[in-house]
Assembly symmetry: C2
């Protein structure tokens, strides 16, 4: 392969500047969620607006279009999976998308989000969905118009899903979700007859000890807290990165709930390993991101659930826990503890849901978005439809909208395809895990020794190292040799639940 | 006054974007010094380079030049001290300065600094000035060429001083420093015959209690830690702000040295009050900065020394200290403590120097810079000259260059006018303090009650609220009714030392 033409170097330099600006925005965002005093909010909003309009300008700079045009022959001469071909391909997609959204719509998007956030907070305060409704309508309208601007001939929800999960359609996601629902609903029904004692998790766990415990756990699984990452506190846990060598995760500690901090930390550390895995060629590259929301979520759910809720993990980690929390774990066997962290119990709040019912929370939201986009449901009727679905699928009904339709922030900043990645991530995580197990048949036994290197290395090689060179389905096929399927996930969840419960 | 022409609105919008970008750089810088893991350094450098070249491009945008041209008549129609006239005046100065420095020189500046930092660190490691010398020469060369580009007809050191302290020349600064030297050298000589016991400061002060103590002190003097600011830890204490409503100070704690954290916090909080005082019209304005390095330093030294080392402050604060550190302060009277924090003792390290000898550290550096710029001294001879001056003025000689010429980071990123602001700040602080005292004759008595509102309010009204609308000398005249003078400072320091020592 000959050396790249100078247009390619010029392109990557322009893209590199955009990556820098995005990372600067990430720093400002991270600070806002972690350390910023309340007085800083208004200036921060202005700074981020200035930066994002500057970034949008750079991403729609006609020079990029011209360079991409001039690079067509070069791209054709390259192997499809080469770094250079992928850079040009992905840059072309990003450039076209950015070009198609008129600046007025970008501004309206930003206004609708700001208004939506205010209205959502207000509605939660008054526990009244109707207070949020006008802002929700506006967000729905703006989101739909963005979808239409991006792909005038497509169904808007398809466009929104394709944007978040490149290559997926609404009907494909719907199929996957139907397969899950069919299996999970009877399973939830079956376990509801039995009780698992998880009272060990609801004792007093002192803040500082919990903090140290989460640091121990996330560094055990291979998230680099020393040189290339750190953990801080925030109200809502999240992960961000400013380069593969500077990845930030956050968690929150509740003193009467062991799981809140522990599993949030593992979850975010899972995201963090993905970001830390975007090394070498992916540094300062437009390819240096996760392949999609769902692929990213596959990594967080992998470490949170497949590892962090496995019996083998707790055989390794429970002795450490017993040392830190001797009175809380007194008389509780590792098996008791394993069952406690795997308790299945329908509940109202998504972020606190167990591994099984979590998917139903997502499916409900997706079905509602689908119904609104297809015209079957008016936004005004969302609350009633929400409550009906919770009653149908989980057998419980929110007593007020704060516990119901107002619980998530997502719809305050857009409406459509907002949640699908979470459950896609669950499905993908097991398929990847099984592929890793084929390469390392004693993977679970390694966990018992506190050894997570093989699993992490497998993910780094087969997932992280590619960044967003490939679309999710393509990446899954390359990594596992198979098409995306719900079978591994459903087998896993059945066997897991049968193990915890006597089914 | 008629409403501003639309060119003025356009100008302030363009300047506002530049302010936003500068604040984003400040966020990235703050994070680098406080929380960034070591791995993040290389990407951060790249991000800051991208941002600064973008900001430079915006600041030299010919549109700004055209708008300024079109606004000449409008400016002439405005009162000199109006916000609008000052905005145009200062923008013109900034624009011209930015335009005069060719982009190659900006790049060379940045390379020379990066190289200088590396060489300085290396030289410190090897305790060998000659390792640093080539980089120092290069920085001297680049700094001088920048000065020549800015004002071809001026003496380069005058230009560099004018840039840091608008309106000052090297010879004016030299005069001020000579006046100080003449008085301070005999004073230092006189006190060296007497000993003040400051052993109370060198006991074990636990980290966390010291931290709480600094928070208490800085919020007592009126730095808003609740809504509009915060304190974090860093190796070298500093202050930065992302808006007047989001001001960050840092400190560092040494468990065997009470003064290190306490006076660093008060010093930075002093800077912080200036930044928090840049309210209203100064938000997102090119005027929303301190008037000069020296003016900024006048505020930090005011709160650190005139307040924080006053007898009245300790009458208020010592009981709090006794509660926190009862064993350390056992048997130590408030008068003993007051004398301890005012001990004068020639020492090698500038940042640890007392109120009196501190100025000599600055004067030495200025005289050396002056000698190099005038051609009397070659950079190669700086170390010997440094050691001679320490011996002459302070009666001590560094045993190695790490304790001597390699102690400060400043010359690794440029050479010229690097230190003058510190001592100018001392001089200005007393003149401002006395003016405030004329308005509030019982100012010092207020301190005894823990009441610092009058002093803070006076500074806000007479200094902070103007941002950089006026040049320092002009601002001092407006604030105090008098020209800058060393008389108040010298009176103050004589009377302070006579009070602490039996002279």
């Amino acid at each position: 392969m000959s050396s790249p033409p100078q247009q390619y170097c010029r392109l990557t330099e322009l893209l590199g500047e955009i990556v820098d600006l995005n990372n600067l925005a990430a720093i400002a965002y991270w600070d806002r969620q972690t350390y910023m005093p309340s007085g800083g909010a208004s200036a921060r909003k202005q700074q981020l607006t200035t930066l994002s309009s500057l970034t949008h300008k750079k991403m729609t700079d006609p020079t990029i279009g011209e360079l991409l045009e001039q690079l067509t022959d070069y791209e054709d001469s390259l192997p499809y999976d080469s770094h250079e071909a992928a850079t040009i391909r992905v840059a072309r997609r990003d450039y076209r998308q950015a070009k198609r959204i008129p600046p007025e719509l970008v501004a309206q998007r930003s206004e609708a989000s700001a208004e939506g956030l205010q209205a959502w907070l207000q509605a939660r305060e008054e526990a009244d969905f109707s207070v949020f409704l006008p802002a929700l309508r506006r967000n729905y309208d703006v989101t739909r118009r963005i979808a239409q601007a991006l792909k005038p001939d497509w169904d808007p929800l398809d466009t929104l899903i394709d944007r978040r999960e490149p290559g997926f359609t609404a009907s494909e996601v719907g199929d996957i979700f139907s397969q899950l629902k069919e299996e999970l609903l009877p399973l939830i029904d079956a376990v509801s007859q039995q009780a698992v004692d998880d009272s060990v998790l609801h004792q007093h766990y002192p803040e500082q000890l919990q903090w140290e415990n989460t640091l121990d756990a996330v560094s055990s699984i291979g998230f680099d807290l020393e040189q290339r990452g750190r953990q801080d506190r925030s109200v809502h846990p999240f992960t961000t990165s400013f380069s593969p060598d500077d990845v930030r995760i956050t968690t929150r500690v509740r003193e009467n709930d062991f799981s809140a901090a522990f599993f949030a930390s593992l979850h975010e550390a899972g995201h963090g390993t993905y970001e830390q895995g975007l090394t070498d060629e992916l540094c300062r590259s437009i390819l240096g991101q996760g392949a999609s929301g769902g692929m990213h979520e596959s990594q967080s759910r992998l470490w949170e659930n497949l590892v962090g809720r496995s019996r083998q993990f707790w055989h390794f980690f429970y002795p450490r826990l017993q040392k830190r929390f001797s009175s809380q774990t007194d008389g509780v066997s590792v098996e008791d503890f394993y069952r406690a962290v795997n308790r299945v119990q329908p509940s109202l709040i998504r972020v606190e849901a167990d591994e099984v019912t979590y998917n139903l929370h997502i499916i409900i939201r997706f079905e509602l978005e689908n119904a609104v986009y297809s015209g079957e449901l008016s936004p005004a009727d969302l609350e009633a439809a929400w409550n009906d679905k919770y009653s149908d699928y989980l057998g419980i009904t929110p007593s007020d909208p704060v516990q119901g339709i107002l619980q998530d922030i997502h719809w305050s900043g857009g409406f459509g395809a907002s949640f699908v990645s979470y459950t896609l991530g669950n499905v993908i995580s097991v398929q990847l895990f099984e592929a890793a197990q084929r390469e390392y048949p004693d993977l679970l036994q390694q966990f018992e020794r506190g050894d997570f290197c093989s699993l992490l290395k497998w993910m780094q090689t087969n997932v992280h190292a590619h960044g967003r060179k490939f679309k999710p389905k393509e990446l899954i096929r390359r990594a596992t040799g198979q098409d995306l399927s719900t079978v591994p996930y459903l087998n896993y969840i059945r066997s897991k639940i049968s193990d915890v419960y006597d089914l």
